[in-house]
């Protein structure tokens, strides 16, 4: 009998109490200080309770449970829906201060209809028996040129013809210019990025000519919500704009966005993808971003109406009364996600699409797949990443992003670690504060 290697045990923020969470067995408890002291000493009273919750385990039975949950995970993922990204071009009308694609040098050829036809032929064959949807990505997909508009219109109509849903990732500047096209599209969601209220946003996400973009984006969001098109508003956060969340959430409330059932938000971190994070003093690491958020929420709880941070599995636990299933792999590349671009190239995911050296195949002018490289992506999970093996956080972290991991270490089979314990210290305190 030993202290499970999947126990996440730490002290809650702003409390004398501790917590223990075990994703493998689905147990989560708050511990009084004296109970935590017991665990630290390795002397357990109420052994039955520890055993029942899997906090104390027999090595063999824990291994069996791990294997069985792993098989469940793989089986469930087999039935997951595929997210297929299509990049019509990498051009963009913005010059965001933190763009990770700005260093890319891609072929300057125009997207042609035969490439779109080949894309649909390929996905119809390669993912024939899979549920799937397409996410139109870029660059900026909704550019104002007539040729670009014609291509996007064609892409949307071909998806609609095949009953394939769409999502669009856009900076939101030209939404109203595309209003007729979008109103007819089988859209699940439009992801739009707004980094703050006007002054802050425009400083970070200006047009190439330096012009402001906030007002047109806000107009685009109004349009989408009025047409019941779901908006997923992404706010990219760093130390320069985090405090503006107070004003932005107030703005969203006054616009009526937060009252709409078609409005949701996500906070993104400007992350260490490729070279974009390497020289940015404003960049948050994950723990720091959530620490700052936690402190901000204590003073301005109204932000929660705009966005409720996940704090790892804390939000899920508070909303569902149970833990999520163990996450053996958080990287969808070549598993439930693939990315295709206008040159006929195939990449593992959005983080790698368009990056030199990341191509894993082609769908135009003819189909070819680099099976060896695809297999390497498909093999990546917490069971194959050696460093995940002894980590108690592995089933909440899932090994992180493969692209970021390789960017940092040169190896795909290396982890992009999530500070799950730190996030739980904050999140369990934030969401269960009254109970502890």
């Amino acid at each position: 009998m030993y202290f499970s290697r999947h126990n996440i045990f730490s002290k809650l923020k702003d409390s004398d109490n501790y917590f223990i969470v075990n994703l493998l067995t689905g147990s989560a408890d708050i511990l009084a200080p004296e109970k935590a002291a017991e665990i630290k000493r390795g002397e357990y009273s109420d052994i039955e309770e520890y055993k029942n919750k899997g906090y104390l385990a027999e090595e063999d039975s824990e291994k069996k449970l791990f294997n069985s949950r792993y098989l469940d995970f793989i089986r469930n993922r087999e039935n997951d829906e595929m997210q297929l990204f299509f990049v019509p071009w990498y051009e963009c009308n913005f010059k965001c201060s933190y763009c990770y694609q700005s260093e890319y040098s891609n072929e300057s050829v125009q997207l042609q209809k035969p490439v779109i036809d080949a894309f649909f032929a390929h996905i119809s064959e390669a993912f024939r028996d899979k549920r799937k949807y397409i996410t139109i990505f870029g660059g900026e997909p909704l550019l104002s040129g007539s040729i670009q508009k014609e291509m996007i219109t064609y892409l949307i109509s071909e998806a609609a013809k095949r009953n394939i849903d769409l999502a669009i990732v856009t900076n939101g500047y030209n939404i109203t210019g595309y209003s007729e096209v979008l109103a007819k599209a089988p859209l699940r969601e439009i992801q739009i990025t707004l980094d703050g209220t006007r002054e802050i946003h425009d400083k970070r996400r200006a047009l190439k000519n330096g012009g402001g973009t906030f007002d047109k984006i806000a107009e685009g969001i109004d349009f989408c919500l009025s047409k019941k098109i779901p908006v997923n508003l992404r706010v990219v956060i760093d130390s320069e704009n985090i405090n503006n969340l107070v004003e932005l959430s107030g703005f969203a409330a006054r616009k009526g966005w937060t009252d709409s059932p078609f409005f949701k938000t996500q906070l993104g971190r400007n992350y260490e993808l490729h070279s974009c994070g390497s020289h940015k003093p404003a960049l948050f690491d994950r723990a720091k971003m959530y620490e700052e958020l936690y402190e901000l929420l204590k003073i301005h709880p109204d932000i929660l109406k705009f966005h409720k941070p996940a704090f790892s599995v804390s939000k899920f636990l508070s909303e569902n009364g149970e833990l999520p299933s163990p996450l053996f792999d958080s990287c969808p590349g070549c598993k439930t996600e693939w990315a295709f671009d206008y040159t006929g190239s195939i990449y593992p995911c959005t983080a790698t699409v368009g990056k030199t050296g990341e191509k894993i195949g082609s769908f135009y002018p003819k189909t070819s797949l680099d099976e060896g490289r695809i297999e390497a992506w498909q093999d990546r999970d917490v069971t194959s990443i050696e460093k995940c093996g002894d980590c108690p956080l592995q089933l909440a972290c899932g090994g992180g992003c493969g692209s970021v991991a390789r960017n940092n270490t040169g190896k795909l089979l290396s982890p992009d670690c999530r500070p799950v314990d730190k996030l739980l210290e904050l999140g369990l305190s934030a969401y269960f504060g009254e109970k502890i």
Binding site: F19, A28, F137, V169, R188, A310, L317
Partner: protein, 41 residues
């Protein structure tokens, strides 16, 4: 009862119900709810 257990053992569960249907996976790259860069944050 749980409160009594908590007082007695110093351990208070946060689990309040069992899954009726298939449990959701804690995908940080959870599909459409974080279309892009979700797997990075």
């Amino acid at each position: 009862m749980k409160e009594q257990t908590a007082r007695k053992t110093g351990m208070k569960t946060l689990i309040v119900k069992k899954a009726k249907n298939e449990k959701k996976i804690a995908q940080c790259c959870a599909k459409i709810s974080a279309v892009v860069a979700g797997c990075h944050d």
